[in-house]
């Protein structure tokens, strides 16, 4: 419901009686109304405040209403102008429609007709605003760090987002750490019909079962030690919105079963509670694990997998995004140079060569970190290889012959050794999270010493 108190109407008519009856009429409907007796006065008022609707008489002393209509639309396309005309001068009013007027009414005005036109006008304007908002959110998405790119791989991702956003189907986003999975989830939410509802993020990677349980379902007072008050769970909070399960591949078997039940019924109860709660949410999840293998090996429930992955969006690792690395590097350079106030023009060809060769196991996030550090140490001018600090002496020459797997393994081991196997520190250096690092250590069979 549109609140009329937020709608400003300007009534422009040289007749006092028209100004007063229309403003009284609009005020009774709760609108904010102002009046002007001439085009000149109207322009003065329009320049001082934003009006949503201008009700404009054709015949005015001095500049007439049709000319004022033209001028208004030269300056502001968003104002809705409704022309008031006598039957005798209806031609002009019709012409004014071509010059941006929204509609016209004949004097004396049929109250039903005016009610109708004003309501239409407000709805149209609301819709325009929404479209602008939507366009802005897509634009800002396109310009967000992780999705900057021209490669066919990233364009495909954007296409997929557009396709699935409007549906209510579950979406599984797959990609390595640092590829921007949460951003894709946000994009899906922002372009869905649930965009005015909440987007609730649940990180499944970092917490124990009991914690995750109470986070998801909420708990009643005294449900467990430390549960001093009752708390709403994230599923409850996500009503009419979207839940984003990050690192869904990491949940335990018990949690998998609980989650499956909830997804089937959309019903649950708080920990320590008996009331059955209902919530209307859409599920988007993300994983960097190969869930198909996990399903085959029996560590992830097949039924849950199918429920979560009606659509799958694959986020390509940065090294596979043809041509995007220099694009992103320059994008981050501009960003950080601007925010740090440094006059850094570009990245030297030698430096760029190094950047393009590096395998970027931490993906876009790692690239961003490397450029940020380069900007910090660079005094101005251009970024050269000296400014680039790939983690702990990465040497591209030697590794040129190696497979990607081998490079990653060696690089990770190197970082771990350098950090004395401080997992948090190593993960930070690598630009990946701890869970991913653990997974990679396991995958590559990296051992201490």
């Amino acid at each position: 419901m549109i609140d009329n108190a937020n709608v400003r109407i300007l009534v422009v008519d040289d007749e006092y009686s028209v100004r007063t009856s229309l403003s009284r009429w609009f005020e009774a409907d709760g609108f904010m109304v102002d009046t002007a007796a001439s085009a000149e006065e109207a322009m003065e008022k329009l320049s001082r405040a934003d009006f949503n609707i201008v009700l404009l008489d054709v015949k005015l002393p001095g500049m007439d209403g049709l000319e004022l209509n033209r001028r208004i639309h030269q300056v502001n396309q968003d104002v809705i102008v409704i022309i008031m005309t006598a039957y005798a001068s209806i031609d002009g009013a019709v012409k004014s429609l071509k010059e941006g007027a929204f509609d016209y009414v004949c004097k004396p005005i049929d109250p039903e007709n005016l009610t109708h036109i004003v309501r239409n006008a407000i709805e149209t304007q609301q819709l325009q605003k929404e479209n602008v908002r939507l366009r802005a959110s897509v634009d800002s998405l396109l310009s967000t760090d992780f999705i900057v790119g021209e490669s066919p791989q990233i364009k495909r991702v954007l296409e997929m987002i557009g396709q699935v956003a409007q549906t209510d189907a579950t979406v599984m986003i797959r990609g390595e750490s640092g590829t921007g999975k949460e951003l894709v989830a946000r994009a899906i939410h922002a372009n869905s019909n649930r965009r005015y509802g909440p987007l609730v993020v649940v990180n499944c990677g970092a917490v124990t079962d009991t914690l995750l349980e109470s986070e998801l379902f909420g708990h009643e007072k005294g449900a467990f030690t430390g549960a001093v008050g009752s708390r709403k769970g994230k599923l409850e909070l996500a009503d009419k919105g979207t839940v984003f399960f990050d690192e869904i591949g990491n949940i335990t078997e018990k949690m998998q079963l609980d989650l499956l039940r909830v997804l089937e019924t959309k019903e649950f109860s708080r920990v320590g509670g008996s009331r059955t709660l209902k919530s209307d949410f859409r599920v988007v999840s993300a994983t960097n694990r190969d869930l198909e293998t996990a399903v085959r090996e029996g560590s992830f429930r097949e039924d849950l997998y199918f429920r979560l992955a009606v659509f799958t969006i694959e986020l390509p690792p940065l090294r596979d995004r043809e041509g995007d690395i220099p694009l992103l590097a320059n994008h981050f350079l501009r960003d950080f140079a601007t925010s740090s106030g440094k006059e850094i023009v570009d990245i030297s060809p030698e430096a760029m060569k190094l950047i393009e060769k590096y395998p970027w196991p931490g993906n876009v996030r790692e690239l961003r970190n490397v450029i940020e550090r380069a900007v910090v140490v660079c005094k101005g001018g251009r970024i050269t290889p000296d400014h680039l600090s790939f983690p702990f002496g990465y040497r591209s020459q030697e590794e040129a012959e190696e497979s990607l797997e081998a490079v990653e393994r060696r690089h990770i081991k190197h970082v771990l050794d350098k950090t004395g196997w401080n997992i948090s520190k190593a993960a930070q250096v690598l630009g990946i999270d701890r869970t991913t690092l653990y997974a990679k250590i396991k995958k590559h069979g990296i051992e201490r010493g």
Partner: protein, 177 residues
């Protein structure tokens, strides 16, 4: 009895059944004492020869002059009234003021080519009387379906709504006292 007074001022013959029922409705709803008076309105002075209708502005001006000082006045006329910018109006009231004017002319089924229907006419009069008095008691238009403060641009809209105030408007009336 309530704190205020409302003068019911019929400027035409409506019959006791309608007026008595309206008395009760007004006093009960607004918690006021209702008094009947016959207003000395000069209809001829309000007549427009070009519109063949009666000027609501002229009538309201007359009404403000004759309104007793100790209450609000609702005048009912049985002629078609207008303000220059609109083809017609059902009524007019000073928002939160003392004078309200209701034309019963367009509430008659006969005006729309339908058969005389006393019950329907009375119902419409109650609704629009409550509506205009609602304005005089400070209420603006309301969008709650069925609420008497819904704006009714046509007779169909009048028939669609009820003659009661929704909870929000009721609260508005109470706080306005």
């Amino acid at each position: 009895m309530g704190h205020g007074k409302v003068y019911l001022a019929p400027a035409a013959h409506y019959g006791d059944a309608l007026l008595d029922a309206l008395d009760g409705l007004v006093s009960g709803t607004f918690n006021v004492q209702v008094e009947r008076m016959s207003p000395k309105l000069d209809l001829a002075a309000a007549y427009s020869t070009s519109r063949h209708q009666y000027s609501a502005e002229n009538l309201m001006a007359q009404l403000v002059n004759i309104a007793p000082g100790d209450g609000k006045i609702l005048a009912m006329v049985d002629v078609d009234i207008f303000v220059p910018i609109f083809t017609f109006i059902f009524g007019e009231a000073q928002l939160g003021g003392k004078a309200a004017l209701l034309s019963t002319w367009r509430l008659r089924p006969e005006v729309y080519g339908e058969a005389h229907d006393k019950a329907l006419f009375m119902e419409r009069v109650f609704k629009e009387a409550m509506h205009e008095l609602g304005h005089a008691f400070g209420l603006k238009h309301c969008y709650t379906p069925g609420c008497v403060m819904n704006f009714s641009p046509t007779i169909d809209h009048v028939d669609e709504k009820g003659f009661k105030f929704c909870p929000v408007c009721t609260r508005g009336l109470q706080s306005g006292h």
